[in-house]
């Protein structure tokens, strides 16, 4: 019975996406309530679904639903297990957080909320489908809505970023489709489970199978934004509205990386990697280059959103490395890092959004001394930034630790070294941000407060609400725009969740053990 959860999770947001536009004909601001109600419902279903597949419940740990009642190899199958449950939970939680954040900032149009719900539905579809072509359809739904949402900013450059993303994203999806076509020609099936057994029977050395994996891999590398295929990402993240940057950076590449993990380990399986050392080495090499170059490029940027965008290139390089390592430990770390990276980037982009709408701060130089004026948001961005570096206790530590441990276990010392170097580079660019926030006097500021005395500033902070037009901060700062409290609250909650998840390794393991048991038989 509970397998009805799977189609509901996808269908509810997709159907609800009609209502903001439809009701918008009568009511001007119908979008937000509809989107919020839907997202809360989806979140409730996601919790119910996670409970159903968790080992704590008595039910089966793998839900399967045949769409329209057509049995598996012929019809489309939806599959939910521990791995997809983690993704579904992440998507629904971030969706609710982004909506709370969006209430006052917008983009305030019903079309935005329709797009938001379509994107949520598409992402959930990618997380739950068990069919390779169905995955392509959801991939394109997600892509199309992302292009539209990025372009929803008033800035003309956003349209340019969106168009660039459209060209590269579509090429990526088409390459994936070619890969699926090759695999289909080789096996005659599109169902993931069915294809896994067909591929095993066919042998992993078959050139058609190798080519299929190659196309699928490159297609996803474009979607995930791995160096050198990342060029769409900085423009898209920088010029999109703050709300959209936070949502897309937290979820879109993440879900594409999940899909790659699913296909690599559930369809092609670990034996494929073992049979093709050349492909494995190529994956590890590209991933390592992406980690180092992404971090270096992040170091060169001055604009905050651009730094975070390039940092994503490096973090996803790490996840790709974990996929190539064929180690259970590393893959465990990759899944944790997917969740952690999503939450950290959502926090950072939302924090940057708060500071940019309150103080107009866009670049690292603009952040000078902001910690005194906006102690809460700055503090939370510092927490998320340090989590990104991997300072314990944070979910960033867990993810990196397990990936590095997996690299050492697999004997890939090169990858382990690259992860270590990237941690130092991450520390460097996050360090620049922290230095600006806490230890730099703002250029325009005359003589408020004692330099470098962060302790005092934080104490005042509890009284001075972030962005609140506080009279004591006086002259020179009268360009401050008040920011709604709930935006700051969302940033705080997300930042604290990245710390709290440090203790959640056991929960992850409980959900993932049955899945990985299947991956690494």
């Amino acid at each position: 019975m509970s397998d009805a959860l799977l189609p509901l999770l996808i269908a509810i947001p997709l159907l609800a996406a009609v209502f903001p536009l439809l009701l918008g004909l009568r009511f001007d601001s119908a979008g937000w309530p509809v989107a919020m109600a839907t997202s809360l419902l989806v979140a409730a279903l996601a919790v119910r679904f996670t409970w159903a597949v968790s080992p704590a419940s008595s039910g089966p740990q793998r839900l399967v639903h045949d769409l329209a009642g057509y049995p598996a190899p012929y019809g489309i199958e939806l599959v939910g297990d521990g791995l997809s449950a983690i993704l579904v939970l992440l998507i629904s939680v971030v969706a609710v957080a982004v909506l709370i954040y969006a209430r006052t900032t917008g983009p305030d149009s019903n079309a935005f909320y329709s797009g938001f719900l379509l994107l949520t539905g598409g992402l959930l579809g990618m997380a739950l489908t068990g069919d390779l072509f169905n995955l392509f359809v959801f991939l394109e739904i997600v892509g199309l809505v992302s292009y539209a949402l990025i372009a929803s900013s008033d800035d003309g450059r956003a349209a340019y970023g969106a168009l660039k993303y459209l060209f590269l994203g579509t090429t990526g999806a088409s390459l994936y489709l070619i890969g699926v076509g090759y695999a289909f020609v080789a096996t005659g099936t599109l169902n993931m489970r069915d294809m896994a057994s067909e591929l095993a029977a066919l042998g992993y050395g078959d050139p058609l199978v190798q080519a299929a994996f190659g196309f699928i891999l490159v297609g996803f590398m474009l979607k995930i934004a791995i160096f050198p295929l990342h060029t769409w990402q900085p423009d898209a993240y920088t010029y999109a509205p703050d709300t959209v940057s936070a949502f897309i950076s937290a979820l879109v590449s993440t879900t594409a990386a999940y899909a790659l993990i699913r296909i690599a380990y559930d369809v092609f399986t670990v034996d494929f990697f073992a049979a093709n050392p050349l492909i494995t080495d190529a994956v590890l090499l590209v991933a390592s280059v992406s980690i180092v170059v992404g971090s270096l490029l992040a170091l060169l940027q001055t604009e905050l959103k651009r730094i975070f965008a390039y940092s994503s290139v490096a973090q996803f390089g790490m996840i790709l490395a974990a996929i190539g390592l064929q180690s259970e430990t590393a893959l465990f770390g990759a899944v944790i890092h997917l969740v952690g990276h999503g939450l950290m980037k959502a926090t950072l982009f939302m924090g940057a959004g708060v500071l940019s709408s309150a103080y107009g701060a866009q670049t690292v130089a603009d952040y000078a001394g902001l910690a005194k004026r906006a102690p809460i948001t700055s503090g939370m961005m510092a927490v998320a930034g340090l989590a990104l570096v991997g300072i314990p206790p944070s979910v960033g530590t867990l993810g990196k630790w397990f990936i590095a441990l997996g690299a050492v276990e697999a004997g890939s010392w090169g990858v382990a070294a690259v992860i270590f170097i990237s941690t130092l580079l991450t520390l460097t660019y996050i360090g620049r941000l922290l230095e600006a926030l806490y230890f730099t006097q703002p250029a325009t500021d005359d003589d408020t407060g004692v330099a470098g005395d962060t302790g005092d500033a934080t104490d005042d902070g509890s009284i001075v609400a972030d962005g609140g037009a506080d009279s004591s901060t006086a002259a020179g700062l009268d360009d401050v725009v008040p920011v709604a409290t709930e935006r700051v609250v969302v940033v705080v909650v997300l930042a604290l969740s990245t710390v709290a998840l440090f203790g959640a390794a056991g929960l992850f393991a409980e959900l993932l053990d049955p899945v990985f048991g299947r991956f690494f038989q």
């Binding site: 072509f133 392509f136 359809v137 394109e140 892509g143 199309l144 292009y147 539209a148 372009a151 003309g156 450059r157 349209a159 340019y160 969106a162 168009l163 459209l166 060209f167 579509t170 090429t171 088409s174 489709l177 070619i178 076509g181 289909f184 020609v185 599109l190 900085p234 423009d235």
Partner: protein, 122 residues
């Protein structure tokens, strides 16, 4: 030589798939005109559709409407896939053209190099 001829005469549709996709991809990358880039993208996708339709083809195959004693039939699945993919491709073209129109009204140009100059793209 006979091998080559065999490939050309029986597998020409696959060669066409590679050719179409490659031309489309090249056009998308090398042409600076945004509308032509979108045309290139469409051509690339059309190549992929051709691959799927070809993979379903059977010499002497009939449309897959099962009748007694009928057959052989062509495989219907790749054709359904292509139908869906065409719909996706049309939506992408529409969004791409909409963005192009917006860029044109904002910057007054359809050339990607001119846009890069105006926007200061790295």
């Amino acid at each position: 030589m006979t091998d080559f001829l065999g490939v050309v005469t029986t597998r020409h549709a696959y060669a066409l798939f590679v050719l179409l996709s490659a031309i489309g991809l090249y056009m998308m990358i090398a042409n600076e005109n945004l509308v032509k880039k979108i045309i290139g993208l469409n051509m690339f996708q059309t190549g992929v559709f051709l691959f799927f339709v070809t993979s379903a083809y059977r010499i002497g195959g009939a449309a897959p409407i099962v009748t007694e004693g009928g057959g052989p039939y062509v495989s219907p699945l790749p054709q359904v896939i292509v139908l869906t993919a065409i719909v996706v491709g049309i939506s992408l073209t529409a969004v791409g053209l909409a963005l192009t129109i917006r860029l044109y009204s904002e910057y007054g140009t359809l050339r990607a190099d001119a846009l890069r100059e105006v926007i200061g793209d790295e």
